[in-house]
């Protein structure tokens, strides 16, 4: 293809798009729906992940210390625990802090407030709260804490009670992730097939035109390239329309989702703003790729004759 044909081919692609405007708009609309389906799936995945991560974050190991342990031993123990494989965070809560936290949590509860007044000494023990990098690491961390070298400082490790729940949550989270992926894959395949068929029908309706171009002496690439440009245009315009719909929709839906998932730390608007360029880039990449691949495959049939 001679180099100076590129502006010509670009112009032809754009002109073809414009002069078959209704067909082009219909194809673009189908692509918009495809992109919106992908986006909705992404959002659902996000919400699902946030919910699961939030639950996982609530899991921890509580280590009750012996009453005769010195400050020095506490500091040393804290350092040792931090170095255990898989531990991400170790927080020491002194008796005083534990009591303060308890009072604040139940400040509206008169019964508990009255009970606390009956105690002259602080009934709460100092604890270490240990969080792991992954929920799967907890059993190994607990096993390490049960070793002899920790037993002079540690009175009790409270984890066994949560073990069943942790295992269930991990299994549920993994199943959800797998199901989510399968459902996404099915939807993606359906969307791509619908998109491909739409472009195929568009090109079929212009098959006579393709034949005429070949009779006049056009090479296959000279016929193919303007149609690929059209595919790119479908993708670009569809991505723009999809984003124009998504962002305002996100502004409206996000507060409602945050209210429903209160305390889960889920802020969709913030997520979208933080990943703005990635989202735009992904939409454009998916849309343009779909358009180009569909156009190339669909027109291939008419050029093989």
């Amino acid at each position: 293809m001679p180099f100076f044909s590129l502006p010509r081919i670009l112009k032809m692609g754009v002109l073809n798009f414009w002069r078959n405007i209704w067909l082009s708009l219909a194809t673009t609309l189908v692509m918009v729906l495809t992109l919106l389906s992908f986006s909705i799936l992404l959002i659902l995945n996000l919400i699902g992940n946030a919910a699961v991560n939030n639950i996982k974050a609530k899991i921890d190991i509580t280590i009750y210390l012996k009453s005769n342990i010195s400050e020095e031993q506490i500091v040393g123990l804290g350092k040792n625990i931090k170095e255990i494989n898989g531990v991400s965070q170790v927080e020491y809560i002194s008796s005083g802090k534990a009591l303060e936290n308890f009072r604040q949590k139940h400040q509206d509860n008169r019964v508990i407030a009255d009970i606390l007044k009956e105690f002259t000494d602080n009934p709460l023990e100092p604890v270490f709260i240990v969080k792991a990098e992954k929920t799967e690491d907890y059993p190994a961390i607990v096993k390490t804490l049960e070793e002899a070298r920790y037993q002079e400082s540690i009175r009790k490790v409270n984890y066994k009670d949560n073990q069943a729940m942790i295992s269930r949550i991990t299994a549920t989270a993994n199943s959800l992730a797998n199901v989510g992926m399968i459902v996404s894959a099915i939807f993606a395949t359906i969307a791509v097939l619908v998109m491909f068929n739409t472009i195929r029908l568009t090109i079929y309706s212009r098959s006579q035109e393709i034949e005429i171009m070949k009779i006049v002496g056009a090479t296959n690439w000279y016929v193919r390239w303007p149609m690929i440009i059209e595919g790119i245009l479908y993708g670009l315009i569809a991505a723009i329309i999809s984003l124009v719909i998504l962002y305002p929709a996100m502004q409206i839906i996000s507060p409602k989702i945050e209210t429903y998932f209160q305390g889960y730390g889920l802020n969709l608007t913030q997520y979208f703003s933080a990943h703005l360029f990635q989202i735009i880039g992904l939409q454009v990449l998916v849309a343009v790729s779909l358009g180009v691949i569909s156009s190339t495959i669909a027109i291939g049939k008419y050029l093989r004759r």
Binding site: P2, F4, S5, R8, L15, N16, R19, N20, E209, E211, I212, M213, K214, I215, V216, G217, A218, T219, Y222
Partner: protein, 226 residues
């Protein structure tokens, strides 16, 4: 210019379109190929533009052997021949000027050359003022004149016209025939397939008569006889 040697075209066992046809056309000739519907005229035209390949024999057009033409050679081959069809085969979403320009663009002609040639060609066929009309806005005769202009834009040595007046009224038919004769006078070899008896007889040049895929008559100053 054209040399057909023992050419046979069989579509299936019940359909032999051409049977051992031998035909030689000199440079600058005007040949009318006539015959009833189904005689093999269209098949002959398709072989000449390499839209079909012969089942047997050899087809040579302007030094190209159609039998051996590879797909990647087809575009270059077709740019050397002007072709006109019964249904005009103009690109419907391009204007008259753009249809002509497209024929030049496919061979990589530069913009200034196209800008010069297209108006000249439109003028030759008498449609300079309709350069911006789409085919649907033109009459049958006008569309066929645009098609002829497109066929000639590369100044081909050979023009093949497959029933160019099939869809036209008497007046438009004569306009097209006169145009074809004028083109032939300027040196282009013309092969015209037609079942229009009056037009062929009025041309009064070489007539090749086909019947059931066989040449039954070939006369220098022939007539279309039924």
């Amino acid at each position: 210019m054209i040399d057909l040697k023992n050419v046979t075209k069989i579509y299936n066992q019940n359909s032999t379109a051409l049977d051992q046809v031998n035909l030689f056309v000199k440079k600058g000739e005007f040949v009318s190929v006539v015959g009833a519907s189904g005689a093999g005229k269209s098949t002959l035209m398709k072989l000449l533009i390499a839209e079909e390949k012969p089942t047997g024999g050899q087809v040579i057009v302007d030094k190209w052997c159609v039998n051996d033409l590879k797909n990647r050679q087809l575009p270059r081959f077709r740019r050397n021949i002007g072709v006109v069809f019964q249904n005009y085969r103009l690109l419907p979403k391009k204007t008259a000027a753009e249809n002509l320009a497209f024929a030049m663009e496919v061979s990589g002609s530069p913009r200034d050359e196209i800008a010069e040639c297209v108006p000249q060609m439109l003028d030759i066929v008498g449609l300079k003022d309709k350069y911006d009309r789409f085919p649907i806005q033109l009459s049958g005769g006008e569309q066929q004149r645009i098609a002829i202009a497109r066929a000639l834009i590369h100044e081909p040595a050979l023009l093949i016209a497959d029933e160019p007046t099939g869809n036209l009224d008497t007046f438009a038919t004569w306009d097209i025939i006169k145009l074809l004769l004028k083109i032939n006078e300027l040196g282009t070899t013309v092969v015209l397939a037609s079942h229009d008896r009056e037009a062929v007889n009025a041309i009064n040049k070489r007539v090749v008569t086909l019947e059931k895929g066989v040449i039954i008559r070939d006369q220098e100053k022939g007539k279309y006889m039924i």
